[in-house]
Symmetry: C2
């Protein structure tokens, strides 16, 4: 049995969607157990089926707008997030899924789970949709603002193994996010990373990739530093949201338009679903001793279920051990 | 009369769309003359009305995929782009519009038009659409990869005056592109620029802006270094293109969907037009002694007309002189 810790109190719709997501996961995945960390009286409002689900009581939550995430974790060791993280470190659980505040989760993961010794910097790696339907890993969206090329190489190794084991891509291609496709483009960092990737046999390097193909990239992994990849993710999100708003406004103009819109409702829903990040799952934090999955703050039950499924896959495929072995061999 | 130089041979559809755009501009704007630089025999295939349009013969073009833009300009002084740029420097014309290769145009503008002495770095500043319909200036999308905070302040002054004079925004708000909205977010550069903007009375500073509101920003100007802003622009472009492809695919599914799509055709066209950059005009290169407008490589006649209109507005409002005066006063 794989045991998944769920931070039931973090996120915009906690604990309702977290609890419902957990029950959904239990109904669909046979070899997992779930431990819900949170306020039992709140959780029990929604928990209608206790099959393979237990509750561990926690006290307080980490505020979503927390300014000082490290203190937030240190001063709230009994919060649902902190207790769920600690359970991974102690071995009580095999993985944690949380849709709590990102920075607090990262800080907490460092403090309470710990970094794997072969990786010098963690990275947050969401999976983004693409026009072709194939999933694409984007990293680091987590905020390692200034990073050394060799640390990015370690992250690329992790992403490669993740894409192979979890997304079932045979030889995942790595693309370096850049302002031009030619060799030698970009900042000093980009040039150095380019050479490192090119020279490494375990990396299937697709060269520089411009984000004007962000939804149709010639690779399976899009990588940059924690500032740039975060900007890419947020611009993608902002453009999708903005276009959605414009489209809605335009489509309902005029009588013919309104009828057209009615007839298109089902297709538009499918379109929206294709872009929804929660259909794919959460973002894994690479580089820790344990499996930590960040689900979107706005995750509903389906999103949370997908995060739990993803966490169980990472455990089942023993991704962290495989990464350690590759990095050991690489001599990092 | 304002005299506009048009690089008739640069761009994906040259010279047809350039020539038609020029004729359209003449028909709509009374106080301009246009000089078309290019191959007269090619131009005359499309030039059906010579009113206030003259042709100056050039030799050869700058290739769109030019690897070494500086040599390309130096070795092709008689190309349409080089001759059109030189005409601005010599005073034969007041502004140039080109949809030729961006890097060659920037290099050529430096060599043949020259940088204004008060600005240490040029910037490319396209105007992007927004959900509310108000135009937003984005800069620098041009590739000053490593830049000093005080040079970004100069660029922000330019953008402020441009937005006021050309976009008719009374007190244009400047937003610093960043990975979080809180003060103190971002890289060292971002932190220093934040303080400079905050302290400057001529800058109406809106603070840090995350690109997840890129199409609905709480400001009129979005600024970052030449790497980051280029990444934002390309991600925006890539997301819009990708979403367009997905939408088309989804909307035509099923019989009802197909009928709905037919009824929505007019609205979808309006939607597409709202996002089309060429409806707004080209990107101005800030920081030169003359007015240089880069129209999209894929510009059709309307896009080119909008670039010419924009160029004439910048000349009419005497933007460059106003910027010089402000920067002189700022003591830069």
């Amino acid at each position: 049995m794989i045991k998944i810790a769920v931070d039931a109190m973090g996120g915009d719709y906690a604990p309702k969607e977290q609890v419902e997501g957990a029950m959904l996961a239990i109904s669909k995945i046979d070899d997992i157990e779930i431990v819900l960390y949170g306020d039992p009286s709140e959780i029990n409002k929604y928990l209608t089926n206790h099959t393979r689900i237990t509750i561990v009581e926690s006290e307080g939550t980490i505020d979503m707008g927390e300014k000082d995430p490290i203190s937030a974790i240190r001063n709230n060791r009994k919060s649902s997030m902190a207790m769920a993280l600690s359970s991974v470190r102690s071995g009580d659980t095999d993985a944690i899924v949380s849709s709590g505040a990102t920075q607090a989760l990262i800080a907490g993961a460092h403090i309470l789970v710990g970094r794997m010794k072969q990786m010098k910097r963690t990275a947050i790696a969401p999976v983004i949709p693409s026009v072709s339907g194939k999933p694409v890993v984007l990293l680091d969206t987590g905020g390692n603002l200034e990073i050394r090329p060799e640390f990015m190489l370690q992250q690329a190794h992790f992403a490669t193994i993740y894409a192979k084991e979890i997304l079932n891509i045979d030889k995942p291609k790595v693309g370096l996010i850049n302002i031009g496709t030619e060799d030698g483009k970009g900042r000093q960092l980009d040039k150095e990373v380019f050479e490192l990737f090119k020279a490494n046999e375990a990396i299937h390097f697709a060269g520089n990739v411009e984000p004007k193909v962000v939804l149709n990239p010639p690779c399976d992994i899009l990588i940059s530093d924690g500032f740039t990849a975060n900007i890419v993710m947020k611009t993608l999100e902002g453009t999708a949201k903005g276009i959605g708003a414009m489209l809605k406004e335009e489509l309902k103009r005029g009588v013919l338009g309104k009828i057209g819109l009615l007839l298109s409702v089902k297709n538009l829903k499918r379109f929206k679903k294709r872009l929804a990040p929660e259909e794919i799952g959460g973002a894994m934090i690479y580089g820790l001793k344990g499996v930590v999955i960040k689900a979107q703050g706005s995750s509903k039950a389906v999103g949370f279920y997908n995060g739990i499924r993803q966490a169980s896959n990472v455990v089942r495929q023993d991704v962290i051990k495989k990464v350690s072995e590759v990095l050991e061999k690489e001599g990092n």
